[in-house]
Protein backbone atom coordinates (compact mmCIF):
# COMPACT_ATOMS: atom_id res chain seq x y z
CA UNK A 1 0.00 0.00 0.00
CA UNK A 2 3.07 2.22 -0.27
CA UNK A 3 1.83 3.91 -3.40
CA UNK A 4 -1.63 4.87 -2.13
CA UNK A 5 -2.23 8.39 -0.83
CA UNK A 6 -5.18 10.49 0.27
CA UNK A 7 -3.91 13.35 -1.87
CA UNK A 8 -1.20 13.79 -4.48
CA UNK A 9 -0.03 17.33 -5.15
CA UNK A 10 1.68 17.96 -8.47
CA UNK A 11 4.36 20.62 -8.11
CA UNK A 12 6.36 21.80 -5.08
CA UNK A 13 5.79 25.49 -5.76
CA UNK A 14 4.26 27.92 -3.30
CA UNK A 15 0.70 26.67 -3.78
CA UNK A 16 1.61 22.98 -3.64
CA UNK A 17 3.68 23.34 -0.49
CA UNK A 18 0.99 25.39 1.24
CA UNK A 19 -1.70 22.85 0.32
CA UNK A 20 0.60 20.06 1.49
CA UNK A 21 1.08 21.69 4.88
CA UNK A 22 -2.67 22.02 5.41
CA UNK A 23 -3.31 18.38 4.51
CA UNK A 24 -0.39 16.98 6.52
CA UNK A 25 -1.50 19.12 9.48
CA UNK A 26 -4.78 17.22 9.57
CA UNK A 27 -3.24 13.79 9.17
CA UNK A 28 -3.91 13.24 5.49
CA UNK A 29 -1.46 10.97 3.74
CA UNK A 30 -0.06 13.40 1.23
CA UNK A 31 2.65 13.26 -1.42
CA UNK A 32 4.10 16.19 -3.35
CA UNK A 33 5.63 15.31 -6.71
CA UNK A 34 8.20 17.73 -8.11
CA UNK A 35 9.83 17.43 -11.50
CA UNK A 36 12.93 19.40 -10.53
CA UNK A 37 15.58 18.87 -7.87
CA UNK A 38 14.48 21.79 -5.71
CA UNK A 39 11.19 23.31 -4.60
CA UNK A 40 9.78 26.70 -5.54
CA UNK A 41 8.37 26.36 -9.03
CA UNK A 42 7.98 29.80 -10.61
CA UNK A 43 9.65 31.35 -7.58
CA UNK A 44 12.90 29.56 -7.15
CA UNK A 45 16.58 30.22 -6.73
CA UNK A 46 19.98 29.30 -8.05
CA UNK A 47 23.62 30.04 -7.42
CA UNK A 48 26.09 31.24 -10.03
CA UNK A 49 29.70 32.19 -9.40
CA UNK A 50 29.13 32.22 -5.66
CA UNK A 51 26.10 34.49 -5.92
CA UNK A 52 22.76 33.46 -4.50
CA UNK A 53 20.11 34.57 -6.96
CA UNK A 54 16.34 34.51 -6.91
CA UNK A 55 14.05 33.66 -9.79
CA UNK A 56 10.58 35.11 -9.99
CA UNK A 57 10.37 37.01 -6.76
CA UNK A 58 11.09 40.73 -7.17
CA UNK A 59 9.30 41.48 -3.97
CA UNK A 60 6.52 39.99 -1.96
CA UNK A 61 3.27 41.85 -2.40
CA UNK A 62 0.55 41.96 0.29
CA UNK A 63 2.72 43.42 3.04
CA UNK A 64 1.04 43.45 6.45
CA UNK A 65 2.43 44.39 9.82
CA UNK A 66 2.50 41.83 12.63
CA UNK A 67 -0.96 41.33 14.07
CA UNK A 68 -2.73 43.33 11.35
CA UNK A 69 -6.12 41.70 11.10
CA UNK A 70 -7.92 40.27 8.12
CA UNK A 71 -5.00 40.68 5.71
CA UNK A 72 -4.13 37.91 3.21
CA UNK A 73 -0.58 37.60 4.59
CA UNK A 74 -1.59 37.24 8.23
CA UNK A 75 -4.41 34.87 7.23
CA UNK A 76 -2.07 32.58 5.39
CA UNK A 77 0.54 32.55 8.16
CA UNK A 78 -2.17 31.54 10.62
CA UNK A 79 -3.44 28.80 8.35
CA UNK A 80 0.10 27.47 7.94
CA UNK A 81 0.91 28.11 11.62
CA UNK A 82 4.08 29.96 10.82
CA UNK A 83 4.84 32.83 13.21
CA UNK A 84 5.01 36.22 11.48
CA UNK A 85 8.58 36.85 12.60
CA UNK A 86 9.91 33.84 10.72
CA UNK A 87 9.43 35.59 7.37
CA UNK A 88 11.76 38.40 8.51
CA UNK A 89 10.10 40.89 6.15
CA UNK A 90 11.78 44.13 5.14
CA UNK A 91 9.57 46.85 3.70
CA UNK A 92 10.29 48.64 0.45
CA UNK A 93 11.75 52.13 0.45
CA UNK A 94 9.45 53.39 -2.28
CA UNK A 95 8.45 52.62 -5.84
CA UNK A 96 7.51 54.53 -8.97
CA UNK A 97 5.46 54.35 -12.13
CA UNK A 98 7.28 56.30 -14.81
CA UNK A 99 5.46 57.22 -18.04
CA UNK A 100 6.59 59.67 -20.76
CA UNK A 101 5.00 62.77 -19.23
CA UNK A 102 4.19 61.78 -15.67
CA UNK A 103 5.68 60.00 -12.72
CA UNK A 104 3.74 58.57 -9.75
CA UNK A 105 5.29 57.44 -6.46
CA UNK A 106 3.92 54.87 -4.08
CA UNK A 107 5.03 53.04 -0.96
CA UNK A 108 3.41 50.78 1.62
CA UNK A 109 1.49 53.83 2.83
CA UNK A 110 -1.48 54.40 0.50
CA UNK A 111 -1.41 58.12 1.30
CA UNK A 112 1.83 58.53 -0.65
CA UNK A 113 0.12 57.23 -3.79
CA UNK A 114 -3.17 59.06 -3.22
CA UNK A 115 -1.42 62.39 -2.61
CA UNK A 116 0.67 61.99 -5.75
CA UNK A 117 -2.36 61.03 -7.88
CA UNK A 118 -4.33 64.01 -6.58
CA UNK A 119 -1.43 66.37 -7.17
CA UNK A 120 -0.79 65.22 -10.74
CA UNK A 121 -4.41 64.50 -11.72
CA UNK A 122 -6.40 67.00 -9.61
CA UNK A 123 -9.45 66.74 -11.89
CA UNK A 124 -9.64 62.99 -11.12
CA UNK A 125 -10.05 63.39 -7.35
CA UNK A 126 -13.67 62.20 -7.16
CA UNK A 127 -13.05 59.39 -9.60
CA UNK A 128 -9.99 58.10 -7.78
CA UNK A 129 -11.78 58.23 -4.42
CA UNK A 130 -14.74 56.38 -5.96
CA UNK A 131 -12.35 53.72 -7.25
CA UNK A 132 -10.79 53.25 -3.80
CA UNK A 133 -14.28 52.92 -2.32
CA UNK A 134 -15.33 50.43 -4.99
CA UNK A 135 -12.19 48.35 -4.34
CA UNK A 136 -12.65 48.34 -0.58
CA UNK A 137 -16.25 47.16 -0.89
CA UNK A 138 -15.61 44.43 -3.44
CA UNK A 139 -15.36 40.79 -2.41
CA UNK A 140 -12.55 39.78 -4.73
CA UNK A 141 -12.00 36.34 -3.23
CA UNK A 142 -15.53 35.10 -3.76
CA UNK A 143 -15.18 32.00 -5.89
CA UNK A 144 -18.18 32.72 -8.12
CA UNK A 145 -17.55 36.26 -9.36
CA UNK A 146 -18.28 36.33 -13.10
CA UNK A 147 -15.64 37.82 -15.45
CA UNK A 148 -15.90 41.56 -15.73
CA UNK A 149 -13.50 43.77 -17.68
CA UNK A 150 -11.51 45.84 -15.17
CA UNK A 151 -10.66 48.44 -17.84
CA UNK A 152 -14.34 49.10 -18.49
CA UNK A 153 -15.31 49.27 -14.83
CA UNK A 154 -12.42 51.58 -13.91
CA UNK A 155 -13.12 53.79 -16.96
CA UNK A 156 -16.58 54.48 -15.53
CA UNK A 157 -14.85 56.14 -12.55
CA UNK A 158 -11.62 57.57 -13.94
CA UNK A 159 -11.83 59.59 -17.16
CA UNK A 160 -8.13 60.31 -17.76
CA UNK A 161 -6.72 57.49 -19.83
CA UNK A 162 -3.16 58.27 -18.80
CA UNK A 163 -3.98 57.87 -15.11
CA UNK A 164 -5.86 54.64 -15.84
CA UNK A 165 -2.88 53.25 -17.72
CA UNK A 166 -0.52 54.21 -14.92
CA UNK A 167 -2.69 52.48 -12.32
CA UNK A 168 -3.05 49.38 -14.47
CA UNK A 169 0.63 49.09 -15.40
CA UNK A 170 2.00 47.50 -12.18
CA UNK A 171 -1.14 45.42 -11.69
CA UNK A 172 -1.03 43.96 -15.19
CA UNK A 173 2.65 43.20 -15.32
CA UNK A 174 2.72 41.73 -11.82
CA UNK A 175 -0.01 39.27 -12.49
CA UNK A 176 -2.29 39.43 -15.50
CA UNK A 177 -2.67 36.46 -17.79
CA UNK A 178 -4.85 38.65 -20.02
CA UNK A 179 -3.43 41.12 -22.51
CA UNK A 180 -4.19 44.81 -21.89
CA UNK A 181 -6.98 44.05 -19.42
CA UNK A 182 -7.83 41.83 -16.51
CA UNK A 183 -10.79 40.41 -14.67
CA UNK A 184 -12.06 42.93 -12.14
CA UNK A 185 -11.66 40.42 -9.27
CA UNK A 186 -8.02 40.01 -10.24
CA UNK A 187 -7.66 43.77 -10.55
CA UNK A 188 -8.92 44.22 -6.99
CA UNK A 189 -6.64 41.46 -5.67
CA UNK A 190 -3.66 43.10 -7.37
CA UNK A 191 -4.62 46.67 -6.41
CA UNK A 192 -4.92 45.73 -2.75
CA UNK A 193 -1.77 43.65 -2.79
CA UNK A 194 0.35 46.40 -4.36
CA UNK A 195 -1.16 49.81 -3.54
CA UNK A 196 -3.02 49.14 -0.28
CA UNK A 197 -0.65 46.59 1.26
CA UNK A 198 2.61 46.93 -0.64
CA UNK A 199 6.02 45.39 -1.16
CA UNK A 200 8.41 43.70 1.20
CA UNK A 201 11.22 41.21 0.90
CA UNK A 202 11.97 38.33 3.24
CA UNK A 203 15.54 38.46 4.48
CA UNK A 204 17.40 35.91 2.37
CA UNK A 205 14.85 36.27 -0.43
CA UNK A 206 12.75 33.47 -1.83
CA UNK A 207 15.01 30.83 -0.20
CA UNK A 208 13.65 31.76 3.19
CA UNK A 209 10.03 31.29 2.14
CA UNK A 210 10.65 27.96 0.43
CA UNK A 211 12.75 26.60 3.26
CA UNK A 212 10.12 27.64 5.84
CA UNK A 213 7.42 25.83 3.86
CA UNK A 214 9.53 22.72 3.26
CA UNK A 215 10.54 22.46 6.92
CA UNK A 216 6.95 22.85 8.10
CA UNK A 217 5.65 20.31 5.60
CA UNK A 218 8.25 17.71 6.51
CA UNK A 219 7.85 18.27 10.25
CA UNK A 220 4.16 17.44 9.82
CA UNK A 221 5.07 14.16 8.12
CA UNK A 222 4.42 15.23 4.53
CA UNK A 223 6.28 13.37 1.81
CA UNK A 224 7.93 14.96 -1.20
CA UNK A 225 9.67 13.37 -4.15
CA UNK A 226 11.97 15.40 -6.36
CA UNK A 227 12.96 14.45 -9.93
CA UNK A 228 9.47 12.98 -10.16
CA UNK A 229 7.73 14.50 -13.14
CA UNK A 230 4.16 13.41 -13.76
CA UNK A 231 3.66 11.86 -17.16
CA UNK A 232 -0.05 11.17 -16.98
CA UNK A 233 -2.97 12.08 -14.75
CA UNK A 234 -5.11 8.97 -14.56
CA UNK A 235 -8.89 8.93 -14.29
CA UNK A 236 -11.62 6.42 -15.06
CA UNK A 237 -15.09 7.53 -16.10
CA UNK A 238 -14.08 11.07 -15.17
CA UNK A 239 -13.11 10.11 -11.61
CA UNK A 240 -9.50 10.62 -10.51
CA UNK A 241 -7.45 7.51 -9.83
CA UNK A 242 -3.90 8.78 -9.51
CA UNK A 243 -0.87 9.64 -11.60
CA UNK A 244 1.79 7.94 -13.63
CA UNK A 245 5.34 9.23 -13.27
CA UNK A 246 7.81 9.72 -16.09
CA UNK A 247 9.57 6.55 -14.97
CA UNK A 248 6.33 4.57 -15.41
CA UNK A 249 5.51 4.21 -11.71
CA UNK A 250 1.81 4.54 -10.88
CA UNK A 251 0.71 6.24 -7.66
CA UNK A 252 -2.89 6.07 -6.49
CA UNK A 253 -4.87 8.77 -4.68
CA UNK A 254 -8.48 9.78 -4.21
CA UNK A 255 -7.63 13.47 -4.71
CA UNK A 256 -5.10 15.15 -6.94
CA UNK A 257 -4.26 18.85 -6.66
CA UNK A 258 -2.46 20.11 -9.74
CA UNK A 259 -0.39 23.30 -9.64
CA UNK A 260 1.15 22.86 -13.09
CA UNK A 261 -1.38 25.07 -14.88
CA UNK A 262 -4.80 24.40 -16.36
CA UNK A 263 -3.79 23.71 -20.01
CA UNK A 264 -0.80 21.67 -18.78
CA UNK A 265 -3.07 19.64 -16.48
CA UNK A 266 -5.59 18.97 -19.23
CA UNK A 267 -2.90 17.88 -21.68
CA UNK A 268 -1.67 15.32 -19.14
CA UNK A 269 -5.06 13.62 -18.73
CA UNK A 270 -5.37 10.05 -19.97
CA UNK A 271 -9.10 10.57 -20.61
CA UNK A 272 -9.83 13.19 -23.23
CA UNK A 273 -12.22 15.93 -22.16
CA UNK A 274 -14.04 18.67 -24.03
CA UNK A 275 -12.29 21.46 -22.18
CA UNK A 276 -9.45 23.33 -23.86
CA UNK A 277 -8.13 26.11 -21.57
CA UNK A 278 -6.23 28.72 -23.55
CA UNK A 279 -2.49 29.13 -23.20
CA UNK A 280 -1.70 32.66 -21.99
CA UNK A 281 0.27 34.88 -24.34
CA UNK A 282 2.47 36.71 -21.89
CA UNK A 283 6.04 35.79 -21.27
CA UNK A 284 9.10 37.72 -20.19
CA UNK A 285 12.83 38.11 -20.28
CA UNK A 286 14.69 38.95 -17.13
CA UNK A 287 18.11 40.52 -16.88
CA UNK A 288 20.13 40.33 -13.67
CA UNK A 289 22.88 42.92 -13.38
CA UNK A 290 25.31 42.84 -10.45
CA UNK A 291 27.56 45.74 -9.55
CA UNK A 292 30.45 46.31 -7.16
CA UNK A 293 28.71 49.34 -5.69
CA UNK A 294 25.18 49.53 -4.31
CA UNK A 295 22.49 51.73 -5.91
CA UNK A 296 22.39 53.79 -2.71
CA UNK A 297 26.06 54.68 -3.28
CA UNK A 298 24.78 56.60 -6.29
CA UNK A 299 21.87 58.08 -4.38
CA UNK A 300 19.38 55.68 -5.98
CA UNK A 301 16.67 54.70 -3.51
CA UNK A 302 13.84 53.32 -5.64
CA UNK A 303 12.75 49.78 -4.85
CA UNK A 304 10.74 48.97 -7.98
CA UNK A 305 10.16 51.11 -11.05
CA UNK A 306 7.42 50.40 -13.58
CA UNK A 307 8.86 52.08 -16.61
CA UNK A 308 7.12 52.83 -19.89
CA UNK A 309 8.21 55.07 -22.76
CA UNK A 310 5.33 54.26 -25.11
CA UNK A 311 2.66 56.95 -25.40
CA UNK A 312 0.11 54.30 -24.51
CA UNK A 313 1.04 51.40 -22.23
CA UNK A 314 0.92 48.05 -24.01
CA UNK A 315 0.62 44.99 -21.87
CA UNK A 316 0.64 42.34 -24.53
CA UNK A 317 2.82 39.85 -26.34
CA UNK A 318 5.14 42.03 -28.41
CA UNK A 319 5.44 41.42 -32.17
CA UNK A 320 9.22 41.53 -31.68
CA UNK A 321 11.31 39.24 -29.46
CA UNK A 322 10.90 41.66 -26.57
CA UNK A 323 9.47 45.12 -25.92
CA UNK A 324 12.36 47.37 -25.01
CA UNK A 325 10.04 50.35 -24.54
CA UNK A 326 8.71 49.24 -21.19
CA UNK A 327 10.15 47.31 -18.28
CA UNK A 328 9.94 46.54 -14.61
CA UNK A 329 13.14 47.53 -12.87
CA UNK A 330 13.69 46.02 -9.44
CA UNK A 331 16.44 47.10 -7.06
CA UNK A 332 16.48 44.36 -4.41
CA UNK A 333 19.08 46.22 -2.31
CA UNK A 334 16.53 48.92 -1.62
CA UNK A 335 14.48 47.34 1.14
CA UNK A 336 14.85 48.25 4.83
CA UNK A 337 17.69 45.77 5.30
CA UNK A 338 20.04 45.00 2.45
CA UNK A 339 21.52 41.52 2.83
CA UNK A 340 23.20 41.37 -0.59
CA UNK A 341 26.95 41.66 -1.02
CA UNK A 342 26.64 43.14 -4.52
CA UNK A 343 24.58 45.91 -5.89
CA UNK A 344 21.87 44.41 -8.05
CA UNK A 345 19.32 45.44 -10.65
CA UNK A 346 16.75 43.08 -12.14
CA UNK A 347 14.97 44.12 -15.27
CA UNK A 348 11.94 42.48 -16.85
CA UNK A 349 10.75 42.94 -20.44
CA UNK A 350 7.60 41.54 -22.02
CA UNK A 351 8.61 38.95 -24.59
CA UNK A 352 7.28 36.73 -27.34
CA UNK A 353 7.74 33.01 -26.61
CA UNK A 354 7.22 31.78 -30.18
CA UNK A 355 9.90 34.06 -31.61
CA UNK A 356 12.41 33.05 -28.94
CA UNK A 357 11.53 29.40 -29.41
CA UNK A 358 12.26 29.58 -33.15
CA UNK A 359 15.80 30.95 -32.80
CA UNK A 360 18.88 28.90 -33.62
CA UNK A 361 21.41 28.62 -30.76
CA UNK A 362 23.62 31.27 -32.40
CA UNK A 363 20.72 33.68 -32.93
CA UNK A 364 19.57 33.02 -29.38
CA UNK A 365 22.90 34.16 -27.92
CA UNK A 366 22.86 37.25 -30.13
CA UNK A 367 19.34 38.18 -29.06
CA UNK A 368 20.27 37.74 -25.41
CA UNK A 369 23.04 40.27 -25.99
CA UNK A 370 20.41 42.67 -27.36
CA UNK A 371 18.33 42.19 -24.21
CA UNK A 372 21.41 43.03 -22.17
CA UNK A 373 22.08 46.18 -24.21
CA UNK A 374 18.46 47.32 -23.92
CA UNK A 375 18.55 46.65 -20.17
CA UNK A 376 21.66 48.74 -19.70
CA UNK A 377 20.08 51.51 -21.81
CA UNK A 378 17.10 51.70 -19.47
CA UNK A 379 19.32 51.70 -16.38
CA UNK A 380 21.30 54.55 -17.96
CA UNK A 381 18.13 56.53 -18.71
CA UNK A 382 16.77 56.06 -15.20
CA UNK A 383 20.00 56.41 -13.28
CA UNK A 384 22.61 58.24 -15.39
CA UNK A 385 24.75 58.61 -12.27
CA UNK A 386 25.24 54.82 -12.08
CA UNK A 387 28.16 54.87 -14.48
CA UNK A 388 29.60 51.53 -13.36
CA UNK A 389 29.73 48.44 -15.60
CA UNK A 390 28.14 45.32 -14.10
CA UNK A 391 30.54 42.68 -12.77
CA UNK A 392 28.08 39.88 -13.47
CA UNK A 393 25.09 39.43 -15.79
CA UNK A 394 22.58 36.69 -16.35
CA UNK A 395 19.55 36.64 -18.61
CA UNK A 396 16.43 34.47 -18.72
CA UNK A 397 14.21 34.26 -21.74
CA UNK A 398 10.73 32.78 -22.35
CA UNK A 399 12.36 29.49 -23.33
CA UNK A 400 14.22 29.39 -20.00
CA UNK A 401 10.86 29.86 -18.27
CA UNK A 402 9.36 27.04 -20.33
CA UNK A 403 12.27 24.78 -19.47
CA UNK A 404 12.00 25.32 -15.73
CA UNK A 405 8.24 25.68 -15.26
CA UNK A 406 6.97 23.44 -18.07
CA UNK A 407 4.34 26.14 -18.68
CA UNK A 408 3.10 26.03 -22.25
CA UNK A 409 4.25 29.13 -24.09
CA UNK A 410 6.62 30.09 -21.26
CA UNK A 411 3.76 31.84 -19.46
CA UNK A 412 4.32 33.21 -15.99
CA UNK A 413 0.74 34.12 -15.11
CA UNK A 414 -0.77 31.08 -16.73
CA UNK A 415 -3.91 30.60 -18.73
CA UNK A 416 -6.62 33.16 -19.37
CA UNK A 417 -9.10 30.44 -18.40
CA UNK A 418 -8.99 30.20 -14.62
CA UNK A 419 -10.80 27.66 -12.48
CA UNK A 420 -11.85 29.86 -9.59
CA UNK A 421 -13.30 27.06 -7.48
CA UNK A 422 -10.50 24.71 -8.55
CA UNK A 423 -12.90 22.18 -10.05
CA UNK A 424 -12.19 20.37 -13.31
CA UNK A 425 -14.41 18.02 -15.33
CA UNK A 426 -12.58 15.16 -13.56
CA UNK A 427 -14.02 14.41 -10.13
CA UNK A 428 -11.29 14.62 -7.46
CA UNK A 429 -8.89 16.59 -9.67
CA UNK A 430 -8.47 20.22 -8.67
CA UNK A 431 -6.43 23.16 -9.97
CA UNK A 432 -4.36 25.14 -7.47
CA UNK A 433 -1.92 28.01 -7.92
CA UNK A 434 -1.78 30.47 -10.79
CA UNK A 435 -4.61 28.97 -12.82
CA UNK A 436 -6.98 28.87 -9.86
CA UNK A 437 -6.62 32.62 -10.04
CA UNK A 438 -5.07 34.02 -6.84
CA UNK A 439 -1.89 35.84 -7.75
CA UNK A 440 1.57 36.53 -6.44
CA UNK A 441 3.42 34.48 -3.85
CA UNK A 442 0.90 35.24 -1.15
CA UNK A 443 -1.94 34.50 -3.56
CA UNK A 444 -0.36 31.22 -4.62
CA UNK A 445 -0.07 30.06 -1.02
CA UNK A 446 -3.64 31.16 -0.26
CA UNK A 447 -4.78 29.26 -3.33
CA UNK A 448 -3.20 26.05 -2.07
CA UNK A 449 -4.65 26.58 1.39
CA UNK A 450 -8.18 27.42 0.28
CA UNK A 451 -8.40 24.61 -2.27
CA UNK A 452 -7.06 22.07 0.26
CA UNK A 453 -9.60 23.32 2.82
CA UNK A 454 -12.50 23.35 0.39
CA UNK A 455 -11.90 20.09 -1.46
CA UNK A 456 -9.98 17.90 0.99
CA UNK A 457 -10.66 19.02 4.56
CA UNK A 458 -14.13 20.51 4.90
CA UNK A 459 -17.09 18.43 5.92
CA UNK A 460 -18.62 16.76 2.91
CA UNK A 461 -15.43 16.99 0.85
CA UNK A 462 -14.76 13.29 1.23
Amino acid sequence: MNNVYDTIIIGAGMSGLAAGIRLAMFDKKVLILEKHTIAGGLNSFYARKGRKLDVGLHAMTNFAKKGERGKPLTKLLKQLRIPYGELALNEQQGSKIIFPDTELSFSNDLNVFTDDVLEKFPEEKDGFMALLEDIRNFNEVSLDNPYESAKERVARMIGDENLREMIFCPLLIYGSAWEDDMDFSQFVIMFKSIFLEGFSRPEGGVRRVISLLMKKYKALGGEVRFRSGVNEIISENSVIKGVKLENGEVITASKVLSSIGYPETVSNLNEKIELDPKVGKLSFTETILCYNKKPKDFGVEDTIVFYNENQKYHYRRPSTLFDEKSAVVCLPNNFEIDDYEDGMIRLTFMANFDLWNDLSPEEYDLEKEKVLTASKDIVRKLYPQMDEEPNFVDIFTPTTIKKFTSHHGGTVYGSTDKSRDGRTPIKGLYIIGTDQGFLGIVGAMLSGISMANLHCLMEGSN
Binding site: F26, D27, G70, T74, L77, K78, Y84, N453, L457, E459
Partner: protein, 82 residues
Protein backbone atom coordinates in the same frame (compact mmCIF):
# COMPACT_ATOMS: atom_id res chain seq x y z
CA UNK B 1 -13.49 16.41 33.19
CA UNK B 2 -13.36 19.68 35.11
CA UNK B 3 -14.42 22.80 33.25
CA UNK B 4 -10.99 24.33 33.97
CA UNK B 5 -9.36 21.43 32.16
CA UNK B 6 -11.72 21.78 29.22
CA UNK B 7 -10.95 25.49 29.11
CA UNK B 8 -7.23 24.72 29.04
CA UNK B 9 -7.62 22.23 26.19
CA UNK B 10 -9.59 24.74 24.13
CA UNK B 11 -7.04 27.43 24.96
CA UNK B 12 -4.20 25.17 23.80
CA UNK B 13 -5.90 24.79 20.43
CA UNK B 14 -6.56 28.51 20.07
CA UNK B 15 -2.98 29.35 21.06
CA UNK B 16 -1.69 27.07 18.30
CA UNK B 17 -3.97 28.63 15.70
CA UNK B 18 -3.72 32.31 16.65
CA UNK B 19 0.06 32.13 17.03
CA UNK B 20 0.71 35.84 16.97
CA UNK B 21 -2.13 36.74 19.37
CA UNK B 22 -1.88 36.99 23.15
CA UNK B 23 -4.30 34.34 24.45
CA UNK B 24 -3.60 34.94 28.14
CA UNK B 25 -5.94 37.91 28.31
CA UNK B 26 -9.03 36.30 26.78
CA UNK B 27 -12.31 37.44 28.34
CA UNK B 28 -14.35 34.24 28.56
CA UNK B 29 -17.68 35.98 28.16
CA UNK B 30 -16.77 37.91 25.01
CA UNK B 31 -16.83 36.43 21.49
CA UNK B 32 -13.40 35.06 20.52
CA UNK B 33 -13.75 36.69 17.11
CA UNK B 34 -13.91 40.12 18.78
CA UNK B 35 -10.70 39.60 20.75
CA UNK B 36 -8.52 37.56 18.45
CA UNK B 37 -7.75 37.55 14.74
CA UNK B 38 -9.94 34.55 13.96
CA UNK B 39 -12.00 34.20 10.79
CA UNK B 40 -14.25 31.41 9.57
CA UNK B 41 -11.28 29.45 8.21
CA UNK B 42 -9.72 29.54 11.69
CA UNK B 43 -12.94 28.36 13.36
CA UNK B 44 -12.86 25.44 10.98
CA UNK B 45 -9.38 24.73 12.32
CA UNK B 46 -10.69 24.72 15.89
CA UNK B 47 -13.31 22.17 14.84
CA UNK B 48 -10.72 20.04 13.05
CA UNK B 49 -8.30 20.19 16.01
CA UNK B 50 -11.08 19.07 18.39
CA UNK B 51 -11.59 16.07 16.16
CA UNK B 52 -7.88 15.38 15.73
CA UNK B 53 -6.82 15.79 19.37
CA UNK B 54 -9.92 14.76 21.30
CA UNK B 55 -12.07 12.82 18.82
CA UNK B 56 -14.87 15.32 19.36
CA UNK B 57 -17.09 15.93 16.34
CA UNK B 58 -18.77 19.32 16.15
CA UNK B 59 -21.52 19.32 13.51
CA UNK B 60 -21.78 22.47 11.41
CA UNK B 61 -25.07 23.43 13.06
CA UNK B 62 -23.25 23.68 16.40
CA UNK B 63 -20.42 25.98 15.23
CA UNK B 64 -22.08 29.03 16.86
CA UNK B 65 -21.60 27.30 20.22
CA UNK B 66 -17.88 27.83 19.87
CA UNK B 67 -18.30 31.62 19.78
CA UNK B 68 -16.87 32.49 23.21
CA UNK B 69 -14.73 30.64 25.73
CA UNK B 70 -17.71 30.33 28.09
CA UNK B 71 -19.90 28.82 25.40
CA UNK B 72 -17.08 26.51 24.27
CA UNK B 73 -16.63 25.16 27.79
CA UNK B 74 -20.36 24.77 28.33
CA UNK B 75 -20.82 22.97 25.02
CA UNK B 76 -17.67 20.83 25.08
CA UNK B 77 -17.50 19.70 28.75
CA UNK B 78 -20.16 16.98 28.38
CA UNK B 79 -18.45 15.82 25.17
CA UNK B 80 -15.09 15.45 26.90
CA UNK B 81 -16.75 13.31 29.61
CA UNK B 82 -18.09 10.79 27.12
Amino acid sequence: METTEVRQKVLDIIADIAMDDDVTTIDDSVALRDQLDLDSMDFLDIVMELKKRHKIIVPEADYPKLASMDSCVEYLTPKFVQ
